[in-house]
Symmetry: C2
Subunit: 249 residues, 2 copies
């Protein structure tokens, strides 16, 4: 299981991914799902993945070796693509190739899940950050102002807080808080999603990344979870009791 979320607001891009990988609940380990490519100040491209770890690794390997796009002869690289849109195309093409590799390997064996979904976000040459969701078939969509976030993996638990609170005008630090609450709600309800959280922040005009790993012992994250839980209880208390009929009343 996995939960990754990307928030694209006016003030910047926030990407978060948990790090729990499990093959059955008795085989749990920590694995980085948020990878960062590029060079600070020039290019930041981050890829978060949900789904088959083996397909993901095959895909990342293809990106490193270079991807020959349809109708082209020379390989192209995430590290040198001119735009984030071209990066998304390259990653999509790598997805198609990686899936074919893995399908050829596992063939008709049943019950082997090889699907992967990706978030690809970043900024090149100081341009405004962009965020894409790459489907398992290699096609993709771009995040826009109306719904300024994308989620992959175990997304439903943490969706209501995003839908209720996040807009394109939300300040960057507030967007970070909303993302962390969404993570916290997911981890509270699904053991397959767990700490540490990897978080990347990119601001417009810089193409520079701030990358943080939020560990089990992180005091801010714990305080955020405690305060949120307490505030929800208070919010509930402050809602008047329902006046719907009770039995025997």
């Amino acid at each position: 299981m996995t939960y990754c979320v990307g928030l694209l607001v006016k003030e910047g891009l926030v990407m978060m991914a948990d790090t729990r990988t499990n093959a059955g609940i008795d085989n749990i380990s920590t694995y980085r799902k948020l990878r960062v490519f590029g060079e600070d100040g020039k290019r930041i491209v981050s890829i978060a993945s949900a789904g088959s770890l083996s397909t993901t690794q095959a895909l990342i390997n293809r990106l490193k070796e270079g991807v020959v796009m349809p109708g082209k002869e020379e390989p192209e690289y995430v590290e040198t693509a001119p735009t984030m849109f071209r990066v998304a195309q390259i990653v999509g093409e790598a997805m198609v190739g990686a899936k074919k590799d893995i399908e050829a390997l596992v063939q008709e064996q049943e019950g082997v899940e090889i699907g992967v979904t990706l978030l690809v976000g970043g900024s090149i040459d100081g341009r405004a950050p962009r965020l894409f969701l790459i489907y398992g078939e290699g096609n993709f969509i771009e995040c826009g102002m109306d719904t300024p976030y994308f989620q992959i993996g175990e997304l439903k638990y943490g969706k209501p807080v995003l839908d209720r609170m996040l807009t394109y005008r939300t300040p960057l630090t507030k967007a970070m808080k909303i993302g962390l609450v969404s993570m916290n709600s997911t981890m509270r309800s699904n053991l397959g999603v767990g700490l540490p959280i990897d978080m990347l922040v990119v601001k417009p005009g810089q193409s520079t990344a701030a990358l943080t790993r939020i560990e089990e012992s992180d005091p801010y994250y714990h305080d955020l979870g405690d305060r949120w839980a307490k505030a929800l209880m208070e919010a509930l208390e402050n809602i008047p009791d329902p006046t719907y009929p009770l039995p025997g009343a």
Copy 2:
């Protein structure tokens, strides 16, 4: 899509179900998913269903005609079963039969979803209410004090608020509020779940039901949704800004 939740606390049982049925997003209608059997003061049995409407109707029909249990000859009825446990067994047996009926009809046609999950709750002869979750295979589990709720259908959106707030000691009216917030969060994030909500409340010692339909125009439900949304925004404001590194800082 569907979302049904049953909350079993010390002071009683609350069952809620939305009423939206859809076969594709261009074919949406309202359909009662919370059915009530019995006679006020003597027996209240409520069945909420998520999944195939045709399997559900075949199952309900079997319950009305009576279910011959394995090794028995006479049909048994939800309306006369001696205990809620026996009710769950009868419903489970009806599930197996209904599924076979439908399977025989649709046979090998692909993409026909015939699965159903049920919540069965109620009280007989004034005894404490009990709540069961019946799987698509007819087997079932009973709700206990450690996790005093069951959900079926689109359950993930509304699970965090239950996990954070509900305990067996939660007062009945508060449990109703928590259930309604869980419904509200689900409807906010998933168009397949919609008003009206059917709500049933049963208190121990009575075997009497209070049944409410919460319509689109219901002022309390709207107020609850507004207050909850406002309180979440305030809760977020009251959490200090994160001190994690920002790019270029």
